[in-house]
Amino acid sequence: MAIVTAVSATFLLAALAPWLGRVLGTRAGWIFATVPAAIAVWLATRAPAILSGTPIEGRLAWAPSLGLELAFSIDGLGLLFGLLISGVGGLVLIYAGAYLGPHRHASRLQSFLLVFMGSMLGVVWSENLLGLFVFWELTSISSYLLIGFDHERPAARAAALKALLVTGGGGLCLLVAVLMLGSIGGSYDLGALLDERDTILASPWLGAIVVLVCLGAFTKSAQFPFHFWLPGAMEAPTPVSAYLHSSTMVKAGIFLLARLDPLLGSAAWWGPLLTAFGATTMVLGAVLAVRQTHLKRILAYSTVSSLGIVTMALGIGTEKAVVAGFAYLLAHALFKGSLFMVAGAIDHGCGEKDAERLGGLRRAMPALFTASLLAALSMAGLPPLLGFIGKELLLEATLAAPTWTTALVVATTFAAALTVTVAFLAGVRPFIGSLAETPRTPHAPSPGLLLGPGLLALLGLAAAVLPATAATPLALGAAGAVLGDVPEKSLALWHGLTPALGLSALAVAVGAGAYAGRRIVRSGLDRIGALDRVGPERLYGAALKGLLAVAGGQTRLLQSGHLRSYVFITLGTVVLLVGGTLWLRGAVPFDAGPENPTWPELLVGAVIVAGSIATVLSRTRLAAIAALGLAGYGLAIMFVLFGGPDLAMTQLAVETLTVIIFVLIFRRLPQFRSFSTPLRRLADGLVALIAGLMVTGLVLVIARTDTDPTLARWFGDHSVPDAYGRNVVNVILVDFRAMDTLGEITVLAIAAIGVLALLRPGRMRRRHRGRAVS
């Protein structure tokens, strides 16, 4: 139950935050942070138990009939992520308070951050895939609202939309995959699904499931070719970038891959897909990062690269690789979160975001510099920091990779080298050299701004120096959740003189060189930059534009605003469907019926036909009304011929009244004009003709069958004895089926009210914005 409490406490606080923010003012962040801090502490105390193999569990039935349960379970994987989410989350809440200061909507931001935190905890602790998905989508929504925090800027709105569409699209793929898994395995519970693992692996849907899961994970974790939304998301305020877009949300995709690895890991395409896309993303992200000068964008692209690394590690799938992946993930969360907050603090302190226009800040912000340096060195993979351990393990793992070994080693070393460059660029460059001119005079950050980056950077150091206290158990525990059992291994700074160390040294040397010659490197890369024109980001833009064009085009075509074409299409559809069915099934035999028509009948028929055709052909209003009346009176006579005096009288009266109304109204209307072209008229005539044939056919086919006389007989038998009326039609109307008549008179009453409202609309406010009259 503790888990449920933890998650719901976060959501509860989120709901109260806007109100609390008003009460507490700028200090609110510190208060809000107590909840995540408490969660982190709780997790830490329970960590030994979890790591020794007894996960914490909690359950809240939600909609069991739908297979949806909030079934939580914290294993090694959940512990690692849970600590990151709550730990970094607490720091970010404090940081956000300081960053936004007295901003009017500061507490709104914190509220969304808390929503996000709760959702993220839900994702990483869910035992039930459907529950996981629910929280997964919530992270997308809260991310949307967070990226668009500066909602009055169009760029922020566009970036929020981009992130939402990409991750939302992936979310739908994931949903379908989850549905397929549930359909095969009969449950959405991971445990139950694992029991059905063999069935799932043998399913013909396996390929589709793997691809759909990957689409979900790759979009969320900004893997190539979906990486482009992440740099765009830097439109968000820095606390958001630090939290969502470096240390937590983007890792949700990786979490998903890790979570499903035991289930899908042996599928043929799983490993190669992850390795290939991870490696591509790793290299691409690193290259793109070097090209940037804007601090947050540098960090964003390098985050893309790091996410690629972890994906690749999961793809390789060996014990070494998985451990390396989680060690790197932990290191990355610490150093990247720290660096983002540093970037934000710099921006806050001097109003400049461009790394190349910053310099010499070490004197104004010494403490921040220390934090930044530690984080940057960790990122660069230098000892004695956690980044170093992660990178060493990774190189070792690639060297031992079962397939594609050389390519992976080269790619990883290359990316590591560029990461060194990027680390210096983002974490060191702004502080060294001579003081650069900035929009604001640099001043030291407040404690709130310093706490986050400082603490995270220090943790990166502490975890590396004392790996056994936290880093080793956490990484191994997470790896154990993926691999099935916890590997016998320990993380250490010193591994001896291994090939990995050599590659590492090479990478640092190359990276430092590239940093020194970054102008040359950049101009070189800019030449490749031409590729941007065909890149996925362009594709996204083109797709969006294309979608709008298609949408507009088809809508303009269909919803043309022209009533004529509406009727035409509607009628055409009716004719096609009904006529088609009749054609296919009915094969209308031309059957004139048992009896030949008599002369009066022929005459009446001719009168009605003549009237209706004359209505179509007449060119004046009065002629048309007269013709219409002819058809109507003809109808009345027809009713007389076939034993319907009530009908005939009613038709006669109604027709007379109709003619009167038509005359009264049409005299105020213009003369008939013909608007359509002959071709249109021909097309309309054709459709009308087929429609007429359809009605004739239907009537003929049905008239051939004898109507079951049960009802007619019953009415005839019961009319006099039970309803005291001899006119059976009238008895049906006022007694047997009086409900119809009640509806009928209601229609009449409403029609009269409607006419009254139309003709006596009351006082109209005249305005001159009306359409021009031509």
């Binding site: 989508e137 397929m180 979608l547 009749l582 109507t707 409900m739 509806g743 009210i753």
Partner: protein, 538 residues
Amino acid sequence: MDGPPGNANLLPVLPVLIPLIAAALSLLAWRSLAIQRGLGLAGAVGLLASAVTLLVEVERGPILVLQVGAWPAPFGISFVVDRFGAVMTVLAGVVGVATFVFSMGSVDARRQRLLYHPLLCVLLAGVCGAFLTGDLFNLYVWFEVLLMSSFALLALGGGVLQVEGAIKYVTLNLLSSALFLIATGLVYGALGTLNMADIALKVRAGDSPEAVVAVSVLLMTAFGIKAAAFPLFFWLPASYHTPPFAVSAIFAGLLTKVGVYALVRSFTLMFVAESEFTHAILLVAAGLTMAVGVLGAASQREFRKVLSFHIVSQIGYMIMGLALFTPLAIAGTIFYVIHHIVVKANLFFIAGIADRLRGTSSLVHAGRTSLYAKAPFVSALFVVAAFSLAGMPPLSGFFAKFVLLKAGVEAKSWTIVATAAAVGLLTLFSMTKIWAEAFWKAPDPADAPIDRTRSPKPPARGMIGTCTALAAITVLIGIFAGPVFEFSQRAAEQLLDGEQYIRAVLGEQALARLETGGETSGSLRIADGTTAEIGGPR
């Protein structure tokens, strides 16, 4: 005094009778707006109360039947209440009450004086009549009742946009009515009955001539127009953005759903003999309706027009469930309808509040204020409704979409699953468009068409209250997704169990014919298709 015997079970007609009485009395009190208002609201509340009672009754027991006038079925008219009909009636009550409350603060006095309230009452009576009647021709009559009052409401006090929209609406809906009427006559000609249970019995017993398929397709197109399915939806986006917001909202919530209801009723209870054929047509229509509707929404730049096209798109989802024709899929349709009616009406109400605050409904032009900054509560209401509509968890729309997708996956209808998923994304896209343009965008004094003649006025408390209540229902449907889904399942089972319906209306002995008449499965047709067996159930 003498007359046919009968029980005094009035309950099944109350949802029709109460608003109808309110309307009749309002006509008598045509001089007093206050009385009309009170009567109208009382009528809607009474409708809701009776509908809830009905729902409770059918939840506890069997299908409720009232033989109107105590004339036995299939001779008189039967009012039949099963779970589906009851829940639809409850939803009509909810939207009805919401509309009355919202109207008080939002519809101008001039329109109200044109007998606005009785019109609304009759609209509700017509909608409920359609949901509850068990007679095909009576269904036609109730359709006309609701149609006529919707015509009047649409054109009421009409400006140019309104009457132009109305003429399109009227024309296409009357075409639909004529087709419906012809089809009803043909059904009587072919089967000799109008009672739905009796039709179902005869179709199941194999008494129907083969041409009945063509008649059922004719009915399908007639209801397809009412439901605004592709390619019969044109009247909807042409008119729904023109009347007052309250009227738009009740239309959006209820009217197309009557068409969906009729489709569901026809193709689960009555015309199931050739389901491979008819439901294949429905499936294609469902996919195209979703896609074309959402693309239409993506192309619009006016608040209510985006929403209008979305109605079309979501009708596609509802038809999808019917077309898949599995118990789960039908349950999905029912869940979707429940969710949709509440959310859609609410979005139109919120559009009304937004229009009032912004001074424009255009999404191109910045309004008078950035709602997100200045009206956080309204923004929150919109977020709930919009993300629910887009099918985001944990709101009602997610579960509705989820059930349908699940049904699609289990039926292995990949095309429709892919379409439904993709349309979900596009729905999200157009909801965020409204959000970004109407809520996030900053006011720009240089930007033109804000209607300066309309004085800025805060929304009335009733307006906000209405939207809050409906948003709360949306959230509650999400929280209680389990019970709602279980109810939908029970309702779907009841729908698919035609014999239960037949037994309730015609009595146990009617079913005896099914056993002697051969198979009871839904794929019967008689060999030569020329004559129908003569002889009714009695």
